[in-house]
């Protein structure tokens, strides 16, 4: 185990949820690691524990047993504020339904994340505009999410994920609600980001077409990692 090198890592993690006295094992003794400059794909059917694993990697919840590390430091050793700041400044998220804020326009959606990361307003504005141009959606700066197509929303979501200079991108079913070609474009972009910008990317998906872009592929079933390619 080398905690200092990983962007995020789970070591023998078990996550159990209790509801109304009934316990559900979401993850069972899972060890998982995302290294810098690496795209890791987590495959598995719905309910296999992929999302739980992602939330543990992001420090959004703590394991029931085992250890979780973010940028080499135990999650429990972060103060809540430090963890929040780490997420804001060093992580990017792409959610299944993109989760853009409908009341803010495209530019403000991107700027908000940069605000959380503590990036000064003037440079944030310039950088946000560049990010949007990079994804070919510079003309949509003042558009509101409800008026965008799924493909456009996805590009905004990716622009938002990288705008804060994130080192680790966590993507939950990023191609789930997209046509094949659009979905693959974004995976290609993330793949390029890994190779050219040194990003770490972990993608949870049930889309096996992503496999060819991944440095490593893990299969998760019933909360257990059953295969690593």
């Amino acid at each position: 185990m080398n905690n200092t090198l990983s962007s995020a890592e789970l070591v023998e993690v078990t996550k159990i949820f209790s509801r109304s006295g009934k316990e559900t094992v979401a993850l069972d003794n899972v060890s998982f690691r995302v290294n810098p400059r690496e795209l890791v794909l987590l495959l598995g059917p719905s309910g296999s524990g992929k999302t739980t694993l992602l939330t543990l990697l992001a420090g959004l919840q703590e394991p029931t047993r085992g250890e979780a590390y973010i940028f080499g430091k135990r999650v429990q050793d972060y103060s809540p504020t430090a963890l929040q700041k780490t997420r804001a400044a060093r992580m990017g998220f792409i959610f299944q339904n993109f989760c853009l804020l409908d009341s803010l326009n495209v530019l403000d959606n991107v700027l908000l994340v940069m605000h959380f990361a503590g990036i000064p307003k003037t440079s944030a504005r310039k950088h946000a505009a560049e990010c949007l141009e990079k994804f070919g959606i510079g003309h949509l700066t003042h558009a509101y999410p409800p008026t965008l197509s799924q493909g456009e929303k996805q590009r905004v979501a990716v622009a938002r994920a990288i705008a804060n200079g994130a080192q680790l991108i966590i993507a939950d079913e990023p191609t789930g609600s997209l046509a094949t070609q659009q979905g693959m474009m974004i995976i290609e972009f993330l793949h390029n980001g890994v190779k050219e910008d040194g990003l770490s990317v972990v993608i949870a998906s049930h889309d096996e077409r992503i496999t060819k872009f991944a440095d490593r592929v893990h299969h998760l079933q019933d909360g257990r990692l059953i295969e690593q390619v």
Partner: protein, 366 residues
């Protein structure tokens, strides 16, 4: 940015909410204005009177709710006290005025129009009294009952002509009216009585020693200096109808707090997913709390602006439709209600802030 944009995203609701807040505030402004108007109107007659001392019957301490009956024989005795320059006897009693289309009670003050002492503090329209068959009505009373200069009315079988309309004589629950002292005595049927004496001192005379000397004339007399007598009447006014206005005002504040709290809680529930997204993306609890407080401030601030803009037209409309409703607004009242609003904002944000803390970023992944 987000706080305002979220509110403006549903602009119709925002407008309705702001108007709801403004109505609550208008109610508070209104109660304040009444409170001020009543408390001022009730004692203005005494406040603007330049008597140095007030002499009343023993155990009477104010004009508003105490009865004082003195014989005119005291008048000569008081005039002879060293240091007294002049005295003004006044006779107060309530009476029913029979108007052309109506009947209403007034607080009649009989005074000597030759000296003008004890008369109305201000004549807004018309003249002071020059004959016994004349009466001065309160301006708001006259407006309410559509009485004008020259109109006739009946008091205790006497027909009087309206000679003037006075200001500062509206006590909210009843209004002053003024007649000559001789007519008042005539009406009441006891020519040898007055309610009180106003005493005007000679320059340099010591009020305290004059008061003591007057008291020593009879055990039946009590004497107050101007400030004490004014305070007695203010105290009496404040223990009357005014506390009720305070209670209604406080209730208005509670309603406004509950209303704002409810609205903000609904906003929090509606924006739950957005807040979860923000938290997942790295927003601090403080940032999300800030949004809620800002939204509360924006809603309350908008309501305050609307309320302030509507205040004067509302008060004018009230005075027009209900002239005896004594209302008085001031910048001070706006300041006090603004501070109260700030407290209300903080209180109304407590529940939504607690709700906000129970929104977890993990919800985004569900």
């Amino acid at each position: 940015m987000y706080a305002l944009k979220t509110l403006l995203n549903q602009y119709l609701r925002f407008i309705i909410t702001a108007f709801g807040v403004s109505l609550c505030l208008l109610m508070m402004f209104f109660l304040f204005a009444i409170y001020h108007g009543v408390s001022e109107g009730t004692v203005r007659y005494i406040r603007e009177n330049d008597a140095d001392l007030w002499v009343l019957q023993r155990n009477a301490a104010n004009l508003l709710r105490n009865t004082s009956i003195l014989t005119t024989s005291y008048g000569n005795q008081i005039s002879d006290v060293k240091g007294v320059n002049s005295i003004a006897p006044i006779l107060f009693f309530t009476a029913m005025l029979i108007l052309p289309d109506n009947a209403a009670s007034v607080y009649l003050a009989g005074y000597d129009p030759q000296t003008g002492k004890g008369g109305p503090p201000e004549i807004i329209e018309g003249d002071t009294l020059s004959r016994d068959d004349q009466i001065i009505l309160d301006y708001a009373f006259a407006a309410k009952y559509k009485m004008h200069i020259g109109d006739k009315l009946i008091v205790k079988d006497d027909t009087l002509v309206v000679a003037g309309l006075s200001g500062g004589t509206n006590m909210f629950v009843i209004q002053f009216a003024f007649i000559t002292l001789s007519k008042a005595r005539d009406m009441i049927g006891f020519p040898g009585i007055v309610s009180c004496y106003q005493v005007f001192l000679k320059p340099g005379a010591d009020g305290d020693s004059v008061a003591e000397e007057i008291k020593s004339l009879s055990r039946n007399l009590t004497v107050f200096d101007r400030v004490t007598f004014l305070n007695n009447n203010i105290h009496e006014a404040e223990t009357g109808v005014l506390p009720m206005l305070y209670v209604i005002g406080v209730l208005g504040g509670i309603v406004l707090t509950a209303l704002l709290s409810l609205i903000l809680s609904v906003y929090v529930l509606e924006q739950q997913k957005d807040y979860a997204i923000m938290k997942a993306l790295g927003a601090s609890d403080g940032f999300v709390s800030g949004i809620i407080i800002k939204q509360s401030l924006i809603l309350a601030g908008s309501g305050l602006i609307i309320a302030v803009l509507l205040l004067e037209p509302m008060l004018k409309a009230i005075e027009k439709f209900s002239p005896t409703m004594s209302v008085h607004s001031s910048v001070n009242q706006v300041m006090i209600i603004s501070v109260a609003l700030l407290v209300i904002i903080l209180l109304s944000s407590i529940l939504p802030l607690f709700r906000q803390r129970r929104i977890y970023p993990i919800e985004v992944f569900r």
